[in-house]
């Protein structure tokens, strides 16, 4: 494995210490480059994880070694050297901050630069009387600030980093972790299981309507650091939670791997609304750099009449491979997928959803809007599957593609597998080019070229955007315009 002798010595110390309990003093903030069982031991020790968790990670790692990278998506990129990345990097602090006052002002400045709304910055900074959006900030793998936990606690809602949850609620984590996305589900999910460094855990108890929108910001900072976030949300019977996830990443040159796993579990009559604005660095105009976004997001509608709604606005990343899905296992459960995917320059996106109807009277809705500009490739890939025992299933799918440039590509790959004759499946798809008439009309009313494109594209995405929570919708609209800058002409 890669790494200096010194680093290996340190790892040996850490993993050596681990046998006797928790590590108390580790000077090293980074695991050496590369991936090995030792690195996984290091991560686990760093996270002060119990033994079962380490075993679980090692099993996943061994499984991953035997798996192959998937190659069926319509994306292409240079082969990833998994030994040429760091799997653990933490902000340089000896102890975690005990209160928000201890949060590095540099970090807060970074949030400001990333354009995180003042309101949420205030929340993050713990300003008295600031709006109630709880932010669990993930900064380079470690959760450095968690707010509003107390208020949530009063409602019985658990909202904390997954590392803390593993320590504080091990039984609950054990009960649900990898039950929706099994360890061996796919190459990137297995990798995530082995090396995930942080993420979020949410539990909403029976009958509780979560008193605020939960929000997490992810960001990649250190060079060569892969991000392997792990999110687990459990909504108990009759509960409701809305979770917002937004990602931004600064300019950088080298490709970075982001392989998150998100698992949602909705029990009887529970509802989870999961919204994403993904704006990872897409690479430059020549297609250099950018994030590889290989994410596994899946929800299990386990209980009867449960509901999960995915809404995503994907504008970033050099390569996106992402299919937020719903397994509709509870009778009468509902799955929804609302997606906007924008690609520009040399970006590639292969995204969509899977709706697996296992139980009777389950319903799903898929609305996908793909916008391709520059020389990008944008693919919708979706599966609607109805199992034989699932009576009276309904699905409605609408896939619209808009081409902004003549050199870009839009592709739609719907799979429909129906094994029950009572199912009603509707699929509509359109592909259109941004019209000269619309452009001229907007411009003849005083809009600049890019303003006109942004307006037409926002109109095209309206049906999806209206499903975003208000504070996100405004940001997302701006983001669409920004993402398409320079795409005209």
């Amino acid at each position: 494995m890669a790494g200096t002798a010194e680093a290996q010595k340190q790892i040996a110390e850490v993993t050596g210490d681990y046998k006797y309990g928790f590590v108390t003093d580790i000077d090293m903030d980074m695991a050496p480059k590369g991936l090995s069982e030792d690195v996984i031991r290091f991560i686990s020790a760093k996270k002060e994880e119990p033994a079962w968790m380490l075993e679980w990670r090692l099993k996943a790692y061994r499984a991953w070694l035997k798996m192959d990278e998937p190659d069926w998506a319509k994306v292409s990129f240079p082969k990833i050297d998994y030994q040429d990345a760091y799997y653990f990097a933490a902000p340089k602090k000896k102890d975690g901050p005990k209160s928000l006052d201890e949060v590095d002002p540099e970090l807060l400045a970074t949030y400001a630069k990333l354009g995180i709304p003042i309101r949420e910055q205030e929340v993050l900074a713990g300003v008295q009387g600031s709006a109630k959006v709880a932010v669990d900030a993930v900064f380079d793998s470690v959760s450095v600030a968690t707010t509003f936990r107390e208020e949530l606690k009063k409602a019985g809602v658990i909202f904390m980093s997954i590392s803390e949850a593993i320590r504080e609620y091990p039984e609950m984590v054990k009960k649900y972790l990898a039950t929706v996305v099994p360890v061996r589900d796919n190459y990137f999910a297995a990798l995530n299981c082995a090396v995930f460094t942080d993420g979020t855990f949410v539990y909403v108890p029976k009958g509780v309507r979560c008193p605020m929108e939960l929000s997490t910001y992810f960001r990649i900072n250190a060079e060569n650091t892969g991000q392997f976030e792990r999110t687990l949300i459990v909504a108990d019977e009759g509960s409701y939670v809305s979770y917002l996830e937004g990602c931004t990443a600064p300019m950088r040159d080298e490709n970075q791997l982001h392989a998150a796993v998100v698992e949602l579990i909705a029990l009887d009559d529970a509802e989870i609304k999961y919204s994403t604005v993904q704006n990872w660095y897409p690479g430059d105009k020549e297609g250099k750099g950018g994030i590889y976004n290989f994410v596994t997001k899946r929800a299990l509608c386990k209980g009867k009449n449960s509901k999960v709604s995915w809404t995503q606005v994907e504008t970033g990343s050099a390569v996106t491979w992402k299919y937020p899905s719903c397994i509709l296992a509870g009778e009468g459960s509902v799955g929804e997928f609302y997606s906007v995917a924008v690609t520009n320059n040399y970006q590639q996106a292969d995204t969509g959803t899977k709706m697996i109807h296992m139980a009777p009277n389950t319903r799903s809705t898929i609305i996908s809007k793909g916008i391709s500009a520059g020389k990008s490739q944008n693919t919708y890939r979706g599966l609607v599957k109805v199992l034989s025992g699932a009576e009276n299933v309904r699905n409605y799918t609408q896939c619209d593609s808009l081409l902004v440039s003549s050199e870009s590509g839009a592709h739609t790959v719907p799979y429909i597998e129906v094994k029950n004759p009572t199912a009603q499946i509707e699929h509509e798809a359109t592909t259109s080019k941004i019209s000269e008439d619309q452009m001229f009309y907007c411009r003849a009313r005083g809009l600049g070229e890019e303003e006109a494109v942004a307006m037409i594209v926002n109109g095209f995405c309206k049906e999806v955007m209206q499903h975003l929570p208000m504070e996100f919708a405004v940001e997302a609209q701006k983001l669409l315009g920004i993402s398409l800058e320079g795409s005209v002409g």
Binding site: R443, G446, L447, G448, I456
Partner: protein, 245 residues
């Protein structure tokens, strides 16, 4: 205000406007009449700066500025408005949002501050009311599912809100019933002032009974072949283009 000299416009390889001269002064209303294919709409699009409408020679001056050096939206900023023969649908974009973005873009070009939401709403409601437009239509997507008359009325609301120095109205009267025609004519007449000018492009004399022009031009095959007072329109109606020209 508008000064066009020896204008030649081609679309693709085909020359449509073939040496056109036109001068419009502030306070004047002109009408260009002509048959289909005479080049009227091409002229309007070229003045507004549509892509693919190539000005091969000649000049267009507006308010002392060389329009050909400006982008379409900059021309709007300078005070030009083009009313469309076929207003375009923009799904998902509400009329209000569209209008507000348009107005603020123009204000930005002129170095003015954005209009506040409250001020804007007041202005739009007032203009819509004057043109008998149902305020509910302001919330609907731009021209989507509008009848022909509603679309034209919407153009008039846009014109009223943007308050241009020169409005070029391309076949604004086509497809209107008599009530809608009267409303649209009222909208145009409201826009007629000492400091503004109007250029009507039309097939028929009908609109000109409600909006009386100062000058009528006859356009045939890419050129203005005859100009006169408002009586010329009646003459055209009576005798047809061939005889008058």
């Amino acid at each position: 205000m508008l000064n066009i000299k020896d204008l030649h416009v081609s679309v693709g390889d085909k020359e449509i406007v073939k040496g056109l001269n036109l001068e419009i002064k502030a306070g004047e209303t002109h009408a260009i009449m002509g048959l289909n294919g005479a080049g009227k709409s091409t002229l309007a699009a070229a003045i507004a700066g549509r892509d693919d409408y190539e000005v091969t020679s000649g000049s267009i001056e507006f308010g002392g500025k060389d329009m050909l050096a400006l982008e379409p939206h900059e021309r709007v900023g300078e005070g030009l408005f083009l009313g469309f023969q076929y207003p375009v649908e923009i799904p998902g974009v509400s009329n209000l949002n569209f209008l507000r973005t348009a107005l603020n873009s123009v204000r930005k070009y002129r170095g003015e501050a954005e209009m506040s939401a409250a001020e804007f709403m007041k202005l739009v409601r007032e203009k819509a009311k004057a043109l008998n437009m149902d305020p509910e239509m302001l919330k609907r997507f731009v021209n989507v599912g509008f009848s022909g008359g509603e679309k034209k009325r919407n153009e008039m609301v846009q014109m009223a809100v943007l308050d241009p120095k020169l409005a070029i109205l391309d076949e604004t009267d086509s497809g209107l019933d008599i009530d809608a025609l009267k409303t649209v004519a009222e909208g145009i007449n409201t826009q007629r002032r000492k400091d503004t000018a109007i250029l009507l492009i039309t097939h028929y004399q009908r609109l000109l009974s409600y909006v009386q022009p100062d000058v009528v031009h006859v356009m045939i095959d890419g050129r203005i072949v005859k100009s006169g007072g408002k009586e010329l329109a009646l003459e055209l109606e009576e005798k047809g283009y061939a005889d008058v020209a």
